[in-house]
Symmetry: C2
Subunit: 213 residues, 2 copies
DNA sequence: GACTGTGAAGCCATTCACAGCT
DNA sequence: AGCTGTGAATGGCTTCACAGTC
C-alpha cells in the first residue's frame, strides 16, 4: 500500500472534522464547503482542503462536499468503520472514568475489560465491565482480539504495564500515566499527560503569551 | 517584557524535563548532561540544549547541568514556584477523577472546588472537595483567586460553561469535552480530546505507520 | 460566482556541526 | 576530553494564490 507521510496534525484534525460532520449529518445538512468546516472547527479553509486532499478528491468544485459521503470517507480513513475492543489497565479513578467515558463508545471503542492488582477490585464489575487480575491480561487480549490498551496506573508502574502489554502483542498504547515509557518501534504509543497540559497553560499565563486561535 | 516565540513543543518538553529532574534530585544526583536528559525523556540531546537555551545559559561547558539548579529554573519558567488554585466544572466520572488525580497536586495544582448542575451532587463533598451549584462559580473564582478552570461536562454544554468561565475572568481553560469551543483570544485554551488520541492510534494501526521514537 | 485541488512560498521546529568553555 | 551554546541547514506543516471545474 501507498499512503505516505500524513502529518499527525492532519490525522487529529480529521478526527475533529469527523465529529463535526456527524453533527451536521444528524441535522440533515447535505452539503458543506471547506470554509464552513473550517469555521466550525476553528482552522483555516485551505488547511481543511489540504488535509482532505491527502486522501483523494472528495469534493465538487463550485459546490463543496457531500456531508454523508465525506463523513464515511473520513471514518474509513481513521479505521472507524469497525468497532475496536480496548482494555484499560488500572481500575482507579482515572481508569474507571475512562471506562465510562461516553466519547469512546460513541466513536466505536468498546472497553472489553479492566485490569488491576487490588484484590478488592478484582472480579468486581464496574457498570458492566469486569475488573480482572493482571494474570488474565494475555488471555483476554487473545480471546477478544484486543489491539489497543489504555494505561491508567501510577507512574512508577507504567513501564512494566507497557512491557506486559507489548509481550501480549498489543498494537497500540494510550498512556495516561505521567511517565516516559519505552516500547518497541512497531508498537504505537501516545501519551496524554494531564499535568503537562495544565503546565503549558501556567506557562502561557505567566508569560502572557498571546493566544493564536 | 521579552521572552519571544517559544515553541509550544518546547514548553511541553520542559514540563517533562522538570519531572525527570525531580526524580534525579530525589535520587541525590548532582549533575547531568543534555545527553542523559535526552536519553531519559526520549528526545535528542541537541533538542534539550536548544530548549533550555531559549531561557538562558544554565549549564557549564565540559560538565553539564546542576540538577537542583536547572530544576528550579524550569519550575520558575513554567510558573510552578507558586501553587495554582483550579476549579473543575462537571462532577461526573471524569471530573471526579481529575479532582483526585495525584499528578495535579504533585505539580502544585490545587483543586479548590467542583461545580455541577445535578442537585444530587451539589453541596456534597468528594474527598474533601465540595461540589457547588453553578451559581456559586463567580464568587468562588473571585474569593480563591482562581485563574484556571477545567471543563469536564458533556460536549453539548462545553461552550456555555466556557462562556461562563470567561465572564468570570478566568485566564485559562483546559477542556476535556469532545467539542470545539471558542473563547476570546486573551483567554488561554487547551483541549485534551480523549477520543482523538485513540483515533490517531487506530489510524496508525490501520495504515501501519512506522513509529518514529 | 462559488468552491475545490494544488504547486509554490512562507514559516516554524528540529537536527547538524562546530566553536567556545572548563 | 567533555559538554554546552548556537548559527546554519534541513525538514515539515501551514498558508497563499490561482487554475480548474461545476
Amino acid at each position: 500500500m501507498k499512503m505516505f507521510k500524513i502529518p499527525e496534525a492532519t490525522v487529529s484534525r480529521l478526527s475533529v472534522y469527523s465529529r463535526f460532520l456527524s453533527k451536521l449529518d444528524k441535522k440533515g445538512i447535505i452539503t458543506i464547503s471547506s470554509g464552513e468546516i473550517a469555521e466550525g472547527v476553528g482552522v483555516g479553509a485551505a488547511q481543511v482542503r489540504k488535509d482532505l486532499a491527502y486522501f483523494g478528491e472528495f469534493g465538487t468544485r463550485g459546490v463543496g462536499y457531500n456531508v454523508k459521503d465525506l463523513h464515511q470517507h473520513i471514518l474509513k480513513i481513521l479505521g472507524l468503520t469497525t468497532s475496536w475492543p480496548v482494555v484499560v489497565i488500572g481500575a482507579g479513578n482515572l481508569g474507571t472514568a475512562l471506562c465510562l467515558y461516553d466519547g469512546f463508545r460513541e466513536r466505536g471503542f468498546n472497553i472489553v475489560a479492566m485490569f488491576d492488582v487490588d484484590p478488592l477490585k478484582i472480579d468486581k464489575e464496574i457498570e458492566g465491565i469486569t475488573v480482572y487480575s493482571m494474570e488474565k491480561l494475555g488471555d483476554i487480549i487473545k480471546e477478544k482480539e484486543v489491539k489497543m490498551g489504555v494505561i491508567a496506573v501510577p507512574a512508577e508502574y507504567a513501564q512494566q504495564i507497557a512491557d506486559l502489554l507489548v509481550k501480549n502483542n498489543i498494537c497500540a498504547i494510550l498512556n495516561f500515566a505521567p511517565a516516559v515509557i519505552k516500547v518497541p518501534e512497531e508498537v504505537q504509543l501516545r501519551n496524554v499527560d494531564l499535568s503537562v497540559n495544565l503546565e503549558i497553560l501556567t506557562f502561557n499565563i505567566v508569560n502572557n503569551v498571546k493566544n493564536l486561535y
